[in-house]
Every structure is written in structure tokens, then in C-alpha cells.
Symmetry: C2
Subunit: 456 residues, 2 copies
């Protein structure tokens, strides 16, 4: 009898959940379709990204960033949100300078001018030295007696076989971040890395380096892949080679930058905040359209789409354009700190910072019941081409927020991301309007469900 009761209760519960899910589908699929239709036919986000990109790249401390902050905050004020405001953030201020010279020399004569970009945060360089190629940190440890006085060249290729390219980013990026201090420990005078990219062009890809506290700072730069291959072949031929490296980049101390925030207040649960965001700064190459101007504009578009299709939502929806993700994460730290101080409750947060390519899925950092709940919404999410919802990491900026029930990373197709990442290839013309707008729609649909249906 007891078993029968458990059975009956289970059947009832399953049936109830099933009916509840069906109700959600029939109510929210038409609204999802409206969101897709508006996003795809108007393409407002894509057009605004075009305007934003005209300011150029947006590194913390740059004049471009100031122009871009002004542009986007004025645009947001015109969108009819309940409030638009800024949070002041103190961020590292590094400038590339106008000199980036890397001359390969053989017998004292110029062999080739190599294409480089200083790594973000690097000190300046004015030196000539022999070069030693290394394939890994293990290789460095084995040859530690050979690197003193030399330029260390970490030649670690991008492994193309991973379907998800972020899996290929993890290994080589370690040489960009830690390579200079690891090599300096054994007396190296500078570090060159092979650019971390999925392309075989010669455009160098920058990104942050981190100096260890106890080690002498030495300059670091990324080589274009074609020149990295060229240099490796020359070195293998065995002739002694020197490189002259001149860079006048400089660390200028601290700059004042801003988190830019727009908000629609919730109707019945205004104190339950759903954040959608990206980071507004970019590296100083290209115009930062994919990383992460596009993610910011998508986040603004989510609020616009919700306003058009839902009107006033049940919960508060807030877009946050975080400052200084690239070389400090100071915007995320400031935002989370203020939220804690003000006792704000974040119900959920969604981040878009993997390029504005076609949607694939959402990564959810939450307990398994919450992930299962969001999975129930797949029939609605599929209306904008979301294929799956899975457990996974969310994003660097929102991961600082405490107490949220779900931290969510928007996952677009990653095939082309590291073609453009941190380089002159990351420009507006590399953004496809349909792909970007499908992303805005996907994020808006999930935001709608989080706000209107909720996680219980």
C-alpha cells in the first residue's frame, strides 16, 4: 500500500510538472517568437555595435574608452529604462606606445622584420640578444641553464582538434600570462610567444601578462603565427640568430573608468535582480566588436526586447557593462562589492563574453535542481536556436557576484573566436548581423523566463 501511495504521488508529481512545463511552453513560445522576430527584423543591436565600434578599441585609460562610455550611456538613456547610472572604477592603465620593432638578425644583418604586439602590462624593451626556442615550461626547466641573457621564444601551437576552441586556449595562454616571469627566473631578458590563435595569418594577438612579485620584470610580446613558424624554422637550421626588440609601452598607474548600468524595475519582485552583462573595455587592437562590445550591446538589447514584448517584468532586469575585464577585472570586483554593501539580492546573472556568434547553448553554474529547471525551458529556448543547457562555468565578470541562484554563460559557436580574439582581426566587419541578433534573442528569452516564470 505504501508503495502504491509513493507510486501515485510520483505519477501525480510527474504529471503536475509535465502540465506546468506545457503551460510554460504554450504561454512563452509565442513571446519568444516575438522576441526573435523583433531582434532579427530590426537588427538594432547590430546597428548600434556599428556606431560603437567607430570609437575604436576601448582599453582602460584610453580616450577611445571615454568617447565610447559617453556614446553608450547616452544611447541607454534614450532607451527608456527606469534608470541608467555609472559606477566609478579604478583600473590599471597601460599604453602600447608607438614603437613595436622586432628584427631577426643573422650574422649581424637584418633577416626579417617580425610582426609583434607587446603583451598587455609589459614593460618597454630596447635590447638585442640570442634566441632560444622552448616548447613548454617542462622544456624551460630542462634547459634552464641555457636561457640566461637570451630571449626565450615559447612556440606552443593552438591545438585545432578541440571542438570547443576555449579548450585549446587554456594551454598556450599560460605562456602569455606566466611566461615572462617564469623565464626571467633563469635570467632571460625577454619573452616572445607564438600568438594564441586558430588562424595561420601573421596578425599578432595580445593579452595580459602577469609579473610575479619576486622576479625581475622583463618585456613580453606576441609574434604573428607565420613569423613564429618562420623563426622556428630558422632556429632549426642551426645558424646563430639574434633579435633586436624595441617597444616603448608603459604602465601609467591608475585610470578612472566606469561600470555602466541600466535597469528596468520589476513589478512584483523588484528586489530580485537579474543581471545581463558583458565587459565594455577591450584590448587596444581592432575595435573590440566581438570581445566584448557585442556582448555589451546584446545585454542592452535584452532590456529593450523585454520592454517591447513583456512591458514591465516581474523581477528587476539590469544590464551591467563591466569596466576593465581585460587587464584587472576591477569593474567586476567593484560591482560585486557595492552590491554586497547595499544588500542587493541577485536572483540570476547571464554573461555574454565569448564573441557574438550563432547560439549553441547556456552553461549554468548552479545546483542540479536549478539546471534541471532551466532544461525544462528548452522548448522555449530552442525558438532562438539554443541547442542545449548544461552545467558549466559562467563568465569572469558575473562570477564575482555572491548569492545568485544561477550564474549563466551564453555559449555561442566558438569556431571563429580565436581567429579574432585580442587582435586587429576583431573588428565590426567580422560580426554577422544574424548571428549576433540570435544571441540577443537567446539571452532575452532566458531572461524573460527567469523573470516571469522563475526557478521554483
Amino acid at each position: 500500500m505504501k508503495k502504491l501511495i509513493i507510486f501515485a504521488v510520483t505519477i501525480f508529481a510527474v504529471n503536475f510538472t509535465y502540465r506546468q512545463a506545457k503551460d510554460t511552453d504554450s504561454r512563452y513560445i509565442p513571446l519568444a517568437d516575438s522576441i526573435v522576430s523583433i531582434a532579427m527584423n530590426k537588427m538594432e543591436g547590430y546597428k548600434i555595435l556599428g556606431e560603437l565600434s567607430k570609437a575604436g578599441p576601448r582599453l582602460s585609460g584610453s580616450e577611445n574608452l571615454q568617447k565610447a562610455e559617453k556614446f553608450i550611456s547616452e544611447y541607454m538613456k534614450g532607451c527608456g529604462f527606469d534608470t541608467v547610472y555609472m559606477q566609478e572604477v579604478k583600473a590599471p592603465w597601460w599604453e602600447r606606445g608607438d614603437q613595436e620593432i622586432c628584427i631577426l638578425k643573422s650574422d649581424g644583418k637584418t633577416d626579417k622584420n617580425l610582426s609583434i604586439a607587446a603583451l598587455g602590462g609589459s614593460i618597454a624593451a630596447d635590447l638585442t640578444a640570442d634566441v632560444i626556442e622552448l616548447s613548454s615550461f617542462d622544456d624551460l626547466e630542462q634547459k634552464k641553464d641555457q636561457v640566461a641573457g637570451k630571449i626565450v621564444f615559447f612556440n606552443v601551437p593552438f591545438n585545432q582538434k578541440n571542438l570547443y576552441t576555449f579548450a585549446s586556449y587554456g594551454e598556450p595562454v599560460g605562456y602569455r600570462v606566466s611566461g615572462p616571469s617564469r623565464a626571467a627566473k633563469y635570467g632571460a631578458v625577454a619573452v616572445l610567444i607564438r600568438s594564441v590563435t586558430s588562424l595561420y595569418d601573421n596578425v599578432p594577438h595580445t593579452g595580459t601578462l602577469r609579473y610575479a612579485d619576486s622576479v625581475k620584470q622583463i618585456p613580453g610580446a606576441a609574434l604573428g603565427v607565420q613569423d613564429a613558424i618562420y623563426l622556428s624554422e630558422k632556429l632549426k637550421a642551426g645558424k646563430p640568430l639574434q633579435i633586436t626588440l624595441k617597444m616603448n609601452c608603459v604602465n601609467r598607474g591608475e585610470a578612472t573608468v566606469h561600470n555602466i548600468i541600466g535597469e528596468i524595475r520589476g513589478k512584483s519582485k523588484p528586489d530580485e535582480i537579474i543581471v545581463v552583462g558583458g565587459h565594455f573595455d577591450s584590448w587596444d587592437k581592432g575595435d573590440g566588436s566581438h570581445d566584448d562590445g557585442g556582448g555589451c550591446v546584446q545585454s542592452v538589447e535584452v532590456l529593450k526586447l523585454i520592454k517591447q514584448v513583456i512591458g514591465r517584468p516581474e523581477r528587476t532586469i539590469r544590464c551591467v557593462l563591466f569596466a576593465n575585464e581585460e587587464n584587472g577585472l576591477k569593474g567586476a570586483i567593484e560591482y560585486a562589492g557595492l552590491a554586497e554593501k547595499n544588500n542587493e539580492y541577485h536572483y540570476a546573472a547571464i554573461e555574454s563574453d565569448r564573441g557574438v556568434f550563432a547560439p549553441l547553448g547556456f552553461n549554468i553554474d548552479a545546483d542540479s535542481a536549478t539546471i534541471a529547471r532551466i532544461n525544462e525551458w528548452l522548448p522555449v529556448l530552442r525558438r532562438s536556436r539554443i541547442e542545449w543547457v548544461e552545467k558549466g562555468g559562467s563568465g569572469a565578470d558575473i562570477s564575482r557576484i555572491k548569492g545568485a541562484r544561477a550564474l549563466i554563460g551564453y555559449v555561442p559557436d566558438s569556431q571563429r573566436y580565436f581567429d579574432v580574439h585580442h587582435s586587429d582581426n576583431d573588428v565590426y566587419s567580422a560580426v554577422n548581423a544574424r548571428e549576433m541578433e540570435l544571441g540577443s534573442a537567446s539571452m532575452a528569452i532566458l531572461t524573460m523566463l527567469l523573470s516571469e516564470v522563475g526557478l521554483d
Copy 2:
């Protein structure tokens, strides 16, 4: 008791199928990973497509096509297949000519030179006439008394809201194919269509038109989207407008072109043929890298990958580069006819003709048991990023093959396909190496399973 036996048999059958599926997974997942690894690290297909694209676009009858046929057949001969041969095909031969002029005039003065491309198969034009804009064939029927002596302008936009862009192609393409004869019936002197594309640039997109037998032939051309919008706005302003249309395109009769075929003979079932193919001709714009040079090179790569990873397969695997898909389908008709005449048995066929973008799924034209069977292979297919296997149409060329157990269409992401389709935008630089190679790997993995595991 009878019920119990049925139950036991069902459990056994389910369990057996489950174990069989697990065996397939454990055996073929490592082989699938090898295929992906070779395709992604070597990128041979992508490189060969670069060489092929240098011949330029490959319309039936063109010198470019002859050069390209020579290049690809010699390449295939170097791949070590068991046999490489050609089938002669008689195909329509149309040439664009060197004159495509479309001048919008107001009060007899030039207002703007409009960007056009003659539709494939169009007769030449040398005329000046008033313009009438129509939004549909219904609109034509309602205004049939107003079109005599005029140029009919079908202004039908691409509906951006469909996730799968081929769904948006269906409607406007009807005006390209049938518009000229439908309008000629009521005395129109020429037809202009708004280009069928998902972009908002001004590049005209060509494609075939079909003249009805009983109606006078009139010229047809596609306008760039920006100029279509411009013309529409001018017409709405109400001023009388004329267009001067000059095109010296010409139908030259019949050309001799070729199906190009390469084959690896099966070990145990040589008479069961699995075809992988695309079409080798293209429109005479861009260089036809997506439509469908890429699909052809992927098909050749499937054989190369199978050879490297499996050695000799159980069944015969044949790549077919079909002639003349764009303006006649004569290659497909010839291939299927010869196969029938020679009593060849096609076990299955896979076609790649939707651009060489990142994989999404496979459309299967087969009975439901066969579709269910292929669905069991999803754990293996996912190794190259295939998300789903669904019932659906296969492809224009293989659909002529009779008696195959499964006709399969490779379905990549369609977001960017109609940006490039039939236009100067369809060039090698619009192909992404990773996306293309993931497609080759997906097709190779499915071919391996069809050959080695089979559909029973």
C-alpha cells in the same frame, strides 16, 4: 504468461540493442576522434579549396570550369583512390557577357546607376521603360492591367526571422525563377527582382530563371538590396521613373561538362556503394567556394580520411562531383541514369550543398527505422559537433539516385549562407578553415559508420 514472455523478449531486445550501441560507441569513438584530429590539424581540404578557387567561378561551358575539372581530377588521381573517372554530361551553356547596365532615370536624366546581375538563362536586354513595383504574385494578378510595356520590379524582402535561412529562401526565390514569365504573360518587357540575400549590401545575387514554354521570353535581372530599397523609395515618392536596361547575356546552346568520380572499393561488400558528393559547377560570380566547391572538396576529403583511418572499408565509398547543378541538374540526371543502366546498388548517399559552415546535423530521407538507427550513432557523430539527426530532405543531386536505403543531407549552420550565395561574396576568404574541416570530419564519420557498421 504470454505477457511475461513478451516482456522478457522486449527487455532482451532493448538490452541487446543497448549493448550493440555501446559496442559501436567504444569501437568507433576513437576512430571518429582520429578523423577529427587529422582533418583539423592538417586542414588539407581547406588548402585544396584555396587552390581550386584560383580557377574562378565554374559555370557550365566556361573555360574556368575546364581548368578546374583538370585541377581536381589530377588532385584526386594523386590521392591513391582505386579509380578516378569522368562521365560526360551535356549541359545548358549560358554566358553573362560584359554589359550589365541599369540606369534609373527621372525626367529623362540619370538619377542613379543601379547594381544588377542578369539572372542565369536570361535573354539579352536593350530597352527603356517605366517601372512598376509589385510585392507578390497576388499583387501582380490584381494589377495585371497596369504592367503592359513596363519593367516589373518584384520587391520581396528576405524574412530574417527564420532560424534556418533556407526557410526564408523559398518565398522570394519564386520571383527569380518564375517572375519573368508570370509578368510577361501580362505584357511586361523585363523583370527586376530584389536580390535573395540575408545581407543589406548592394551586391546582386544571381540564380536561374525558368521561361514558361508558351510565353514570350523577357529579360530578368537581380538588383542589389540597397538599390532595390532606393528604387522602392523613389517609386513611393510618386515621380514618374524610367529604367534603361542593357545586358548582352546569351544562351549558347549546349556544353560538354563532366561528373568527376573517385572511388575506394569495399572489402567485403564492394557492390554496396556509398556516395558522398556535391556539385562542381557554380554560378559565374565570386569563385563558388561555398556553393559548392567546398562541398566537393569535403567529399574528396571523406575518402582520404577513411583511407587514412580505416584503410580499406567494408563497402565501396565513392565521391561524386556532380556537373551542372545550378542551371540544369544534368550531372545528377546522367549519374542516376548510368547507375540504373549498370545495375549499381546505392546503399546510401550523403550530399554537402548548403555551404561549408560549422556542423549542426544530418537530414535523413529514409524510413523511420533507418533514421532511428542513424540516431543511435549520435554519441559517435557528436565527436565532430553534430547536434542532431532528423528526418528531412537530402539534396538536389543525390535525390535522383534510386533505391538507396538513406539519402542524407549534411546540414551546417545556415546563418551566413545567403550572405554569399550566387554572388561576388561567395569567395574563398569567406570560408573558415575550422568550420569547413569539421564538416569534412562529420561526413567522414557518418560514412565510416554506414560502411563499417551498416544500417541493420
